[in-house]
């Protein structure tokens, strides 16, 4: 099992500038200003992120991207998490990865430059609440030069602003990834969820009656090109990359949550003493730090491995282990941190005004995205304990 962990000067620069950008653009009042907005993010901030080239980072240069490894997104995701900054960046990044890993050259030509240039895109994977489902009830049916879809996708992140949706359907009895454009959708196709984490947006997506050109089915499914990964392989990789993005974001949020707790423990007095001097609060706060440290080491380990792999190669066992460990650790750490943050703020912690609510809501929401800690540990058990002879 690999224990690689390295960080290039280039990544250090990305981390520095991303930190600075997110801190400046997303102080808590700016976060709170978006909690009840439709899109959940500030359009100008997103435009600036596009101008910085963030959606293009992990897209190859031949398709309009910067050609960096997927690992370069990890410091950005961590920085965004630290500032609770939500934008369609993760969704767009995953949609691009789906096309990069599952599409033909012409399909990549068609969509990747758009995403690199800032067109919001997303992935539509779940039918319900089960990240472990191996079949989908959404179907695609050939109909001459087009494909007709049916079914409903749930928890489609950033669906309200996306122009492109990479959707998981079943075509001719096997998995297929179909690119649906916003213009293909029916009038009321998008029904927003009300999410626990109010910094996030997601919706149900109705595919009933949607018809797209046959060329929108990613080539991975057509077996015309054996070099291209199978749709199930691409799906698995999307889950792992999504888990890593969420892990990096959660790690950043844990850091911010810890800072919030520490600030309060250093200023709040009870019984004539700063409450941070009480070991009943001090020691669990150290536990938050240790959980955070473990998560940080794991996300940058995964980033290191991804940067060493070819951009469109199927993710290997070490990367799978790294992404799953990172997700399990990071969301457990954030859940613990958010839970303690509310408790340690006492009566204030029970209010909407207190920032602790932002972290615990994020924690419980992030736990569920791309598989919770049990989901990943169950798969890790298979990888680590059932080594085939």
């Amino acid at each position: 099992m690999s224990n690689a962990l390295s960080f290039t000067d280039e990544q250090a620069m990305i981390l520095d500038s991303a930190r600075e950008f997110c801190r400046e653009k997303s102080p808590v009042p700016a976060v709170r200003a978006q909690l009840s907005s439709d899109s959940g993010f500030d359009a100008t901030t997103w435009e600036e992120m596009v101008a910085l080239g963030w959606p293009a980072l992990a897209i190859p240069e031949e398709f309009g991207g910067a050609g960096l490894g997927f690992g370069s997104i990890v410091p950005i995701a961590e920085s965004m998490g630290r500032a609770l900054l939500s934008t369609p960046l993760f969704s767009a990044t995953l949609a691009a990865q789906a096309i990069l890993r599952g599409g033909s050259s012409s399909q990549k030509e068609q969509w990747l430059p758009q995403i690199a240039a800032g067109t919001p895109a997303t992935v539509a994977l779940l039918d319900g609440g089960d990240w472990g489902a191996t079949r989908t009830t959404c179907t695609a049916t050939r109909n001459g030069d087009s494909v007709t879809l049916s079914g409903e996708k749930w928890y489609v992140a950033d669906a309200g602003v996306a122009s492109l949706f990479v959707t998981w359907c079943e075509l001719d009895g096997s998995s297929a990834l179909v690119v649906v454009e916003q213009g293909h959708l029916g009038a009321d196709a998008i029904q927003p969820h009300r999410l626990l984490d109010e910094t996030k947006r997601a919706a149900k997506l109705s595919l009933d009656g949607v018809s797209v050109p046959a060329g929108n089915v990613l080539e991975a499914n057509l077996e015309v090109n054996l070099e291209v990964n199978s749709a199930d392989g691409v799906l698995r990789d999307l889950h792992l990359l999504g888990a890593l993005l969420l892990a990096a974001e959660a790690t950043g949020s844990t850091g911010a949550c810890l800072d919030t707790v520490v600030d309060y423990l250093k200023t709040r007095k009870q019984f004539g003493k700063l409450i941070g001097s009480y070991q009943a609060l001090k020691h669990p706060t150290v536990d938050i730090l240790c959980g955070l440290d473990a998560a940080r080491s794991l996300i940058y380990h995964a980033a290191t491995l991804l940067d060493d792999a070819a951009a469109d190669a199927e993710l290997d066992r070490d990367i799978e282990i790294a992404c799953r460990m990172a997700k399990a650790q990071a969301v457990d750490a954030l859940t613990f941190a958010g839970d303690r943050a509310v408790q340690f703020h006492g009566g204030m912690g029970f209010t909407y005004e207190c920032d602790a609510q932002l972290y615990i809501r994020r924690a419980q929401h992030a736990q569920q995205q791309f598989g919770d800690a049990w989901h990943h540990r169950k798969r890790l058990a298979g990888l680590l304990l059932d080594t085939a002879a």
């Binding site: 440290d293 794991l298 890790l380 058990a381």
Partner: protein, 405 residues
């Protein structure tokens, strides 16, 4: 120590590695049929002592211990990288520990770096050969972590110092020939630290009485050491009177691995989660292999994630860009994280065994000869000794997070 030596070539190092590996393969001692100590704090019987003494002597005779120490004091006078390679091969070959740790790792480097020529001649070679076992007299019954408060008195009387007081947690105190002793020579010093002095004290002296402490495992390894009008030669004083605190702090630097100079050899047997899995392979639960039980698997994977993260964090600690938030976090929390992880892992290893977990060492049916039961209990020496986990958490909270005292 060896200024004029050219840096060894990669080829030389590779050859050396093969040479050590081959030697270890031929010379690794056979299983003695009794449980060996995993750390130097667990030498509890003459049988164990004799075995480890013979092994360390063999290692040294072969030239694989004290490699960076000068030849005239029993070392090899080669660059430290050779010892690093030898240690890595010892770890790989899973050979027994080099048990004379207080000599090899703490007293030895101290004498090497600030001892007189006479002291170097007298002590260093016998530390390496395991001829002389060393112990440490710092902690006292009423002053566990508070070294500055040491109360053991040493009073100059002619050519001797007369020592009175009690030390505790003296590892191998009943086997040691020498002790690094911290005692108070001036009770009236303005600062309590300035009243302390440091001695390289003999142990086989009338009035020094090391009484073995029976540990929770039922075994021995430490003594409580009583000094009653014990006369030790004044020449045992290291440095000057009043320099004790400074010298003790330097010793702790070696102890914590913060300063180089240790003679090498394995200080403890490394135990990892894979060893737990290996032990549990034959265990069944509900008629099925234990390792197929979903609850057990989840617990095991939690531990595996933690172990993986510990290893990765050691690497991350060396990358400034990834430690900028809390720069000293990983270093200061290292003992807390690793000792607490080890405790939980061992606790799990016992608990997961089913009814077998209730057996203890020397029961012929115990899994791995009761290794885990004993290892779990012994592990408390790491979560208590050298500052308890609770003290460590205070240190991390106050010095890393800036929380109030």
């Amino acid at each position: 120590m060896n200024s004029a030596v050219d840096a060894p070539s990669q080829r030389e190092l590779d050859d050396f590695r093969s040479q050590v590996a081959a030697w270890l393969k031929d010379n690794k001692p056979a299983d003695p049929g009794f449980l060996l100590p995993q750390t130097f704090m667990e030498v509890g019987s003459d049988q164990q002592l004799d075995f480890l003494r013979e092994w360390q002597h063999k290692l040294w005779s072969a030239g694989y211990l004290g490699m960076a120490w000068p030849k005239e004091y029993g070392g090899q006078g080669v660059p430290a990288v050779f010892q690093v390679i030898a240690d890595a091969e010892m770890r790989r070959a899973a050979v027994p520990i080099a048990f004379n740790v207080i000599g090899l790792g703490w007293a030895g480097p101290l004498i090497l770096h600030r001892g007189s020529e006479e002291e170097k001649q007298k002590y260093l070679k016998n530390i390496l050969s395991a001829e002389d076992i060393w112990c440490q007299g710092f902690s006292e019954p009423d002053h566990g972590s508070d070294l500055g408060n040491v109360q053991t008195r040493a009073v100059r009387d002619g050519d001797d110092y007369v020592v009175n007081g009690t030390k505790i947690w003296t590892t191998m105190g009943n086997y040691a020939k020498y002790m690094i002793l911290l005692a108070r020579t001036n009770p009236n010093a303005e600062r309590k630290y300035d009243g302390l002095s440091f001695f390289l004290s003999p142990m086989q002296v009338d009035g020094i009485d090391p009484r073995p402490i029976q540990k929770l495992t039922g075994e021995y390894g430490f003594t409580e050491t009583f000094f009653t009008d014990a006369r030790i030669p004044a020449s045992c004083l290291m440095g000057e009177e009043g320099e004790g605190w400074k010298i003790a702090m330097q010793t702790l630097q070696y102890e914590r691995g913060a300063e180089a100079g240790a003679a090498g050899g394995l200080m403890q047997v490394r135990v990892v989660i894979d060893d737990v899995i290996e032990c549990l392979k034959g265990v069944t639960r509900d008629g099925q292999p234990l390792l197929e039980d979903p609850v057990i698997r989840d617990e095991l994977v939690k531990l595996m994630i933690e172990e993986k993260a510990q290893g990765l964090s050691n690497r991350r600690a060396g990358i400034p860009a990834l430690t900028s938030d809390y720069p000293f976090s990983l270093n200061l929390s290292g003992k807390l994280r690793s000792s607490e992880y080890a405790r939980r892992m061992r606790k799990f290893a016992v608990a997961a065994q089913g009814a077998h977990g209730g057996l203890y060492v020397e029961d012929a049916d115990a899994l791995d000869a009761g290794f885990w039961q004993r290892a779990y209990l012994n592990n408390f020496s790491t979560t208590i000794g050298g500052g308890t986990s609770q003290i460590q958490a205070n240190i991390v909270g106050e010095h890393v997070l800036g929380l109030p005292k």
